[in-house]
Symmetry: C2
Subunit: 266 residues, 2 copies
């Protein structure tokens, strides 16, 4: 079923209200010296959860409770709840907790609305820089203060001219890392350490590819909406739609997407 | 010879004037779609030089020509000139050209004043975020708009709790990479892709170690001044002073510096 214009407007307004509400909550914790990181990785790795993460997700949910109590929610920190409407919100209060802990402003608050299981509206908000990347319902913009810039993926370039981003050099498993390097060694340059900000830069036309593995749906739902609205393509490494995270290939153009896909599968 | 207070004030004021002058020059090129990158790496790698780099260094030199024509200059793009005063300026108009090309705001303008071959005042300026990290002459501050925050390295932590930054996962040669990983596998977390912003975050008390190799003097002179002013330590991988770039170990505390040094040499 298609959404009415008023429903679309309400979803967009709710997403902005959530992003506004969460900014002071996370900024109050960013770059404070006492930020404690509890470890939630039971396998013994380091998956930091801070007080800021939980407080931020509460702030996001408060807005939904008030404005759209019938919608479903999938949140990174506080779990899933099924709704009675057609909309499910996917929330990652602080994507890039490691960057957050290190004071690096490439983390972001991710807010996405799913309809029929597909992201139809997304926000990538970077509160420290004050940048909000928005995509969906015919909009694709970067908002910073009162400035607005169009989001549009870069013109198609040859793979040898492409700029590739990822978060971890390990990428995922050893096999996934090898596939990644099949692409990486054929591009102009590769940069690491970007978290959600990498997807925002792809939507802004600054880079051509983002390739990651081991993602969760809350890491990628908002980026999908923003990148698709900006003219880009996001699929899994088989070229199919992303339904629950995992391997992600985001590209600025169809031709580059095909090229990268072939190398990932080789 | 010690510098007079008025000479110190003039050096600091000149550095600020340079950083102010260069901001609009670089920002006018940041995130533009037409930014061309010429390749200056004759060995066939990718070392991008943009129009912005050269224009920015000209803007820095214009200020020196007017305010302090007798000082020496070492600039990344436009070479060296010997001065008639005791001061030599070390300039990197855009440290992190790759980050700049990708739209990632962790590049910076680096300005340092050397006296007796040692950095005595330094500025790391990040124009897009609007952050200026300043160290020397008893000052250690982060300036953002009208806000000022003290720069102070983090309290000593155990190596297992330390946060480590570097720019490239390859670090340098295979041997240098192996030494780096001796440290990396013993810390809490490692992040890549930071350029000069990593040193700024160390001065701000957000991370504990920055380890790099293959640097030039213009990459590290300003970070040395800023980090030392904030209470940190910067040496080469033998624990000696950095005279011309190369291998760099920056640490938040003496004890962590010693620990990392032992692992780099092991």
């Amino acid at each position: 079923m298609t959404l009415s214009n008023s429903e679309a407007d309400d979803i967009a307004a709710t997403a902005h209200e959530m992003a506004d509400a969460v900014r002071p909550v996370v900024l109050q914790h960013f770059r404070t010296s006492g930020l404690a990181a509890a470890n939630k990785d039971e396998a013994g790795g380091f998956d930091p959860v801070t007080i800021a993460d939980r407080a931020a997700e509460e702030a996001l949910r408060d807005v939904l409770r008030r404005r759209r109590p019938d919608d479903g929610i999938i949140g990174e920190e506080l779990g899933r709840s099924t709704g009675r409407s057609e909309i499910t919100w996917v929330l990652d209060p602080i994507d890039g907790t490691r960057a957050f802990l290190c004071g690096i402003p490439v983390w972001g608050t991710l807010i996405a609305a799913l309809h029929g299981g597909r992201p139809i509206f997304g926000v990538i908000d970077q509160p420290h820089i004050g940048e909000r990347f928005i995509g969906g319902f015919g909009q694709a913009i970067l908002q910073r203060g009162s400035d607005r810039f169009p989001l549009k993926t870069r013109m198609p370039v040859a793979l040898s001219e492409a700029r590739l981003l990822s978060t971890f050099p390990e990428v995922g498993t050893a096999e996934e890392q090898a596939a990644f390097h099949n692409v990486s060694r054929n591009v102009q340059l590769t940069r690491y350490g970007l978290d959600c900000y990498g997807y925002a830069l792809l939507a802004l036309g600054q880079v051509d590819l983002v390739i990651e593995a081991g993602l969760h749906i809350y890491d990628i739902a908002a980026p999908i909406a923003v990148i698709e609205a900006a003219g880009g393509i996001v699929t899994n490494w088989s070229g199919g739609p992303i339904t629950d995270g995992g391997q992600v290939l985001a590209a600025s153009s169809q031709v580059l997407h095909q090229h990268a896909l072939e190398l990932l599968r080789a």
